[in-house]
Amino acid sequence: MTTLTMKVNGKTRTGDAEGRTLLVQFLRDELELTGTHVGCDTSQCGACVVHVNGKPVKSCTMFANEADGAEIVTIEGQAAEDGTLTAVQQAFQDHHGLQCGFCTPGMVMSATALLKENPKPTEADIRHYLEGNICRCTGYHNIIKAIYAASGQDVSSIAAE
């Protein structure tokens, strides 16, 4: 066991990890931040996406030890203390970008990273960026719409079906 220290959602947090402890296990089991989900555990689905030093990564495919000293942002770090949602979160609600919600933490973290890199993405840019995020419910269209709306663009230009 080693003791790791990270800045998680702006707060310094410490916890113990074995060599094999995955970042997602550290966040969920050690720090009790269970908003980050494990959908597949095989690097395919993206439910576990968090930001490490500002970049989206699959936390099921990174060892916690690799994140020692890093800045981590998770879904819990999105809404303000008073519950006010971010533009991306609000747009997911407004455009029905979720059904069961299991993929949503990863979708929101990927979408937020996309809009930071590319503030006015096209529909094709959004679909390409979400290649590693799988949703079993929505059929994606409302997710794409939500992200397009969150970027401040007019969603009526996106096909309805």
Partner: protein, 261 residues
């Protein structure tokens, strides 16, 4: 996953020393190694992380050569390999953004997955694989599926790509994994054209020499028309027969030449 010791050295020399232990193995982006460890296909006693070694990271262009550090991520290559646009484009289409933020060129070349993208770029460019002990020409480096010229404990510190006059990579994606069902990298240099094929052969990446000869005398998609890639030794699986892959090799070569020209 079986447990292991985790060490994170700050220099190549320390990493090489840590890898002297027979049970030790390098860890780069972990995008291949972690999944195989979860399946218990791999059980190192110690993982030596290469992600904290500044000398292994970076992209630099100098006098017709693009040099990429062994632990440079796909995302960084996509953003910074402007001297070699076809290579930057290849890196920017590996997996998805999260995979590209962790996965590295050294890990990809060390693994030599028969469906990986980078091996085709290295072979088509006549790249040089630089390790902590020597330099290996791409033609000698790839030795069949998941097999390379690397010795135990040897680490890839960088890759040198001669920058071509024209080049293009065409990847026909396997729709589930998004690896290359077949991929073709074409690179044109002053002294000739090289064509490397990934995803298709039981032996991993290989050069299509007939197409190289035809394209070296006439760099146009039509030059490949009269050729047929052989289906002998090609992969047959539920995604495609050997004959299907053989046809893809020709189609993708033509597309790559058309896009590069």
């Amino acid at each position: 996953m079986y447990n292991f010791e985790f060490v994170k050295p700050g220099s190549v020399a320390e990493a090489v020393a840590a890898l002297k232990d027979e049970e030790a193995q390098p860890l780069s982006g972990g995008q291949t190694l972690i999944p195989t460890m979860k399946q218990r296909l791999n059980m190192p006693g110690t993982l030596v992380s290469l992600t904290g070694i500044p000398e292994l990271v970076g992209v630099s262009a100098d006098g017709g050569t693009l040099t990429i550090g062994g632990a440079t991520t796909h995302a960084q290559v996509a953003a910074e390999a402007t001297a070699y646009p076809a290579l930057a484009a290849l890196a920017g289409n590996i997996g998805d953004p999260a995979v590209r933020n962790r996965g590295t060129i050294g890990g990809s070349l060390a693994n030599n997955d028969p469906a990986a993208c980078y091996p085709s770029a290295a072979l088509a460019s006549g790249a040089t694989i630089v390790t902590n002990v020597r330099e290996i020409a791409a033609d000698d480096y790839f030795q069949g599926m998941f097999t390379t010229a690397l010795d135990e404990g040897e680490i890839i510190t960088g890759v040198k790509f001669p920058t071509p006059e024209k080049a293009n990579y065409q990847k026909f994606e396997q729709p589930a994994s998004r690896f290359a069902l077949t991929g073709v990298f074409v690179a044109k240099y002053a002294d000739g054209v090289r064509v490397a094929v990934t995803g298709a052969s039981e032996e991993g990446v290989f050069r299509w020499t007939e197409a190289e000869a035809a394209l070296s005398s006439n760099f146009s998609a039509d030059a490949v028309d009269g050729l047929t890639a052989s289906a002998d030794g090609l992969i047959g699986d539920l995604h495609g027969t050997p004959e299907y892959r053989a046809n893809l090799i020709k189609v993708l070569t033509k597309r790559a030449v058309a896009a590069a020209a």
